[in-house]
Every structure is written in structure tokens, then in C-alpha cells.
Amino acid sequence: MPDRFLPSEFIVNVDHQRCRRCKRCILNCGFGVFDFQNMTTADSSKCVACHRCVVFCPEEAITITRNPLAFREHASWDVGLRKAIWKQAQSPGMILTGMGNDKPWLNIFDHLLIDACQVTNPSIDPLREPMELRTYLGRKPARLEIEYDSQGKPVLRGAVENNIMINVPIIFSGMSYGSISLNAQRAIAIAAERLGTLMNTGEGGLHEELYPYANHIIVQCASGRFGVHSKYLNAGVAVEIKIGQGAKPGIGGHLPGEKIGREVSGTRMIPQGTDALSPAPHHDIYSIEDLRQLIYALKEATGYKPVSVKIATVHNVAAIASGIARAGADMIYLDGFRGGTGASPAIVRDHVGIPIEIAIAVVDEQLRSEGIRNMVSIIAAGGIRSSADVVKAIALGADAVAIGTAALVAMGCRLCQKCYTGNCSWGIATQRPELTSRLDPDWGAERLVNLVNSWSLEVKEVLGALGINAIESLRGNRDRLRSLGLDPATNEVLGVRPAGM
């Protein structure tokens, strides 16, 4: 019997008339598609359509097409389902995948429309007037009490909690060293510093080389406690307790031993070559009271730096968020079910959790109704693809958004979803030195800075159209959103009226 039932997903074609046999494709492909025997040959079965070869072939000799092989069509048995069965019938195990949910679920952002001023209320021209995108992350006082000193000058009474100032309401999401390369993390760190915003270590510790950027870094404390020690906790501007991740709510993580080389092992502080297993829960957190205990343990260990709690958006997200706020967190990081990952079982990535749009709206609403919205900043992530998504997320109730996949795409990622293989041809989701060395951190940083600056311009433009001059005034301002094509129940959950109403 044949070893594999699976036909190649893509067909790689080398135009031998054009090919000048420079072998660049052989060097560039992380998946070993190309070979050279008198002429350039390609093994299509290995191709993941990451396009590295296409971009780097000097002769444009390579084309990659979807394998046109016709599968007998069947409305309820799509090809993906059949392929999964073939794989699992061949060797037992869960189907592993990378990146974010690729299933065609309804994308609510694409069904929300933004308002603008016409005639009766003037819009603002961002070219002429200052537009404020600056955002403060952290706990705000319930009310400000002001006294007047002897000169009659107002002074604030009482202490205000530590807040982190970011110049744009866009931060970089947690992507660990191990899941991505050090060069990718360097690029993000440099960009965060230049932009006056933040990056997040993910759960892999902080490499020595990134300590100089610590004023722009949130350090994560996840269930495996990899690389977590006093110096690390005190290095960043805030600590994040990672409870869950949008791409894999409720499950732990397994970074396979092959990816734990010398450097990664040093940053995670575990031996080389062993699997880095993150337990599904933190075993010191089985309740909101336990969460409070860890939040304050971290505050005590860091001189009361702000603590963020990252959760995957699940059905009960509003009640959970309320508990997190009351447990003493300064920020709640909501990661929607479209969030990316270095590796996740496909069943979890594709079927567990709820969309970020819904989560932002219900969490914001719940915290407001309890009168505790000021206690936490909400950071929304997991499916932010554009400046329009940024505006909509903030209008739904977020204080800021975090981008992960968008940042990787800016640095070359083609969403091939093979991050878990460690062969990323773009030098991002890999630790192979010949692959990581091709990602120049300065080049990557420049692209990230360009991207975020572009989005900032667009956000300002839309704010102007809305007649708003500060991003703060957009926060939770759902009245400036309308939905198109959403059902009444979803509209109600979102707190958004349909267009025309």
C-alpha cells in the first residue's frame, strides 16, 4: 500500500528556460524543496507555499500553484477534513498547526462600520490639529480628588497607581524566544523602543541582549515559569501572568526539545534538548483568590509594577475579567480565538474560544456595569489585522490593541502555518542559524515602525472624521459604530445598533 494518501498541496514549477542555476532557491527554502541534479529540481510534496523562493529567485523562474487535483466534491466533507483523516489514519496523534485560526468563521470586524461627521457636527482636520494617540495602561483612580495649595494651584490628592505611557495604542503581543527567533524578537524590541510602545517576552524568558530595551518590555510569567527569576521580573515595565492564549485556550504548550538549543535553553533556564512543557493551568492558581495571590507576589517582588493578566477569550470571559480586575490586575489582555501561535492542536486553534470583538464588548460592559472599568486597562489581541480593526476594537471598549501576526507579516511571514516545524524560511519561527541569520533586526524594525506609523496616520484620519481629537474619547464609544449584516442577538451582545438605526 502507498505510504501516504496525501497528494501535494502545491505544485512548484521551475521555468528552466529562465533559470540560470544560481541555486539561490536551494539555500532559501527552509523546507528542502529544491535540489540540483544537472538542473534545478523541486519536490512539490514538501512545499508549504511560503514564497521565499519566489521572492528571492532573480529570474522569476519559480511559480507555485495550488495542486489542481480534483477531489470529488462533497458539501459536508471538505477536502481539509478528508486530509486530516488520512494523516491520522496513517499515524496516530493530534493534528498540529501554527499561526491563527484559518477557518471561515464570521469576522465581526468586517461587519462593523465607523461613523463620520457631516454638516451638523464638524469633523477635525488631523493635518492642522493635534490628535492624541497617547495611552496610559494601568489602574486609574475611581475619582480624582483635587486640593488647592496656598498659591491656589490645584494639586492631586493621594497616590495614583503606576501607569505605563505608550505613544500609540498598539503594542506587540507576546511571542517567545523559542517560538520565534532572537532576530525577530530584536526587531520587535527595537521597533517598540522607537515607537514608544511595548513588546512582550512571551513565556520564554528574556535574552540578555534584550535587557537594554527593558523599558519597552512586558515580561511574562506563565505556567512553566521558564526563565522567570527576580532579575527578569524586575527588568521590564510590567509583568504579565499568562493564563491563556487565544489560539489554544485552556491547554498547555509543548516546545519540542529540538528547538531548545544552547541559546534558547539559556533564556528559558532549562537543559538543552528537553521538551519545554508548560502545564495547562498554573498549579498555584486554581481560583480568583489564588490569582490575586500571584498578582501580589509579583507586585511584592517588583516594587509594585503593574501586572497584566492574559486570558484567552472564552464563553464566560466577562465574569472572568471582572474577577481579574477585582484580584488586583492593572491590565487585562484579551486574546481572541483568531490569535496566532507557534504550535497548537488544530482542533483547539480552530474550534475553541470566542471572537475578540464580542469579548471586548462584553468585558467593557461588565466592568462598566460593576463600576470597576477604571481598575484595569483592556488590551485586545487575536485578530487585529488593520488600522480599521484598531479603531473598531477601541470603539468597542479596548484601551489598546496588541498585534502579533500583523507584525510577523510585516517582516515577511506568509501565513504558511508551518511555524511548529521550526523551518520558517523567513527566519521568523525558527532557530536554525542559517535561517535566523537572514532576518536583519534593523530591517525588520524599520518595517514594523513603518507599519505602526502608517496605522497611526490612518487612526488619526478616522478620529478626525469622527470629530474626535483623542483616542480616549473613542474608547467604548460604541455609538460611533454600526453593524451591517449581523443578527439582532449579536448586535445586542456587541451593544451596537444596525446601520440605519
Binding site: 496516530p92 532579575k231 532549562i270 534538548g273 528537553t274 498549579h283 498555584d284 517582588a301 517588583t302
Partner: protein, 259 residues
Amino acid sequence: MDGVRQASRSEEEVKVAELDARGIHYKELNEKIRSLIESGYEEIVLNGVNGQRYIGDGLVHNVRIVINGVPGNDLGAFMDGPRIVVNDNAQDGVGNTMNSGVIVVRGHAGDVIGYGMRSGKIFIRDDVGYRTGIHMKSYREQVPVIVVGGRAGDFLGEYMAGGIIVVLGLSSDSKDLVGHYTGTGMHGGVIYLAEEIDESKLGSEVRIFQADKTDIERLNALLAEFSDLTGLDVSKVDPRSFVKLLPVSHRPYGNMYVY
């Protein structure tokens, strides 16, 4: 400083401060401890401790803290260096994610002892609760150690990735040495038990072996240190009768996936 009595043990010329912890909130207590360390005290004696959490949390100093009374949860969490002695019972979360140092409890301790600890030693004279030593890990020359004089509850050494756990079973009650699910998901390190236990208590990722010569040497050294620090008589304990639990695989979940 309020409530601080200064003294010095002249034989060793150690600068000692005594502090009355009664009625002081943990935040203030920890601030006081930090400022005493900054003023050069090498030993701090806390009297009247009654449930204050986070004592010694995140400290990176080479200081000795003596606790008279029962400290609250997360004693010595994230700590990196200090030596803490508790002359009473301790609660949950002792040595949570600690990086180095020594914690001695001359009594019982609660749940989640030494979670994710990477180095240093925890000596508990009597029993410990559930989830002791979960996800302990070693790194380079750092090898964390937990020695329990009494018995341990369920989930001992779950997900353990490195380090050493020893359970002596010297409790007065006749319950089993360890609870259920011992060593579940274990993929590194070693658990030593003073007596053979039923396989039904074990996670499927570990197997029972007899202690060999190197183990016995290692155990003798640890027992001497344990007895010295906790004051428990271990003369009746014979390392030659110990068993050890080792993981069957360093990659217990390596075959769970298809691509």
C-alpha cells in the same frame, strides 16, 4: 526603625535585627525587611509572625531570616539567595518559583511547595500538602532539592523536569508516604521515597527503581543536612532501603502529534 531591636551575635559578628511583626501588614513588613537589608543587617528575626504573605518574596540578598510564628502564603516566592528558617508551620506556596537559597520549615507546610523552583533547597520537617515540587527544573549546575520529613499529598513532582525530591515518611500517623498521581508527567529529575509504594499511586510516566550506590551517598549527605537544619532525628532512616522514581522518557508527550 519602629519595632526593631538590634543585636549582634558577637562570636560570628553577624549584624542581627529583631522585628516585631504583630499586626503589621505584609507590605509594610516586607518594606521593613528590605530596608534592614539595605542597612547591612545579615540576619533578621521576625517575631509574632501571623499569616503575613510574601515574606522574602523576590529577595536576591545573602541574608538569613528567622521567622517565629506562622508565615502566610508564598513564603520566599521568586527569591534568589536568602536563607529562611521558620520555627513553626508554614502555609501554601513556600519557595514558589525560587531561584536559589534555602528554606527550612520546622513544622508542616501546605500545598504547592517549591512550584517551578530552579535551584536552592527546601527542607520541611513534617508533612506537606498537595502539589509539592510541581514543575521543578534544573538548569546547568543548579539542582533544586526538596526534602520532606513526613509524608506528601497528591500530585507530588507532577510535571517535574529536574531536581531532587526526597520523602522520608517519619510522620506520626500511619498514612501512605505519598498521595496519588505521584510523578505524573515527570520528564526529568528524581524522586526518592523511604519505602516502596504501590504502583497505583504513580503517574504512568514514571517507574520505580532501587536506590544505587550514588543515590545512597547523595541521600546520606542530604539527610545529614536536613537533620541539622530541621532538628529531626533521622538516625532510623536507612537510604539503602529507598526507592527512586525516574521518568521513563524525557519527552513524555513527544508522540502526540501528526503534521
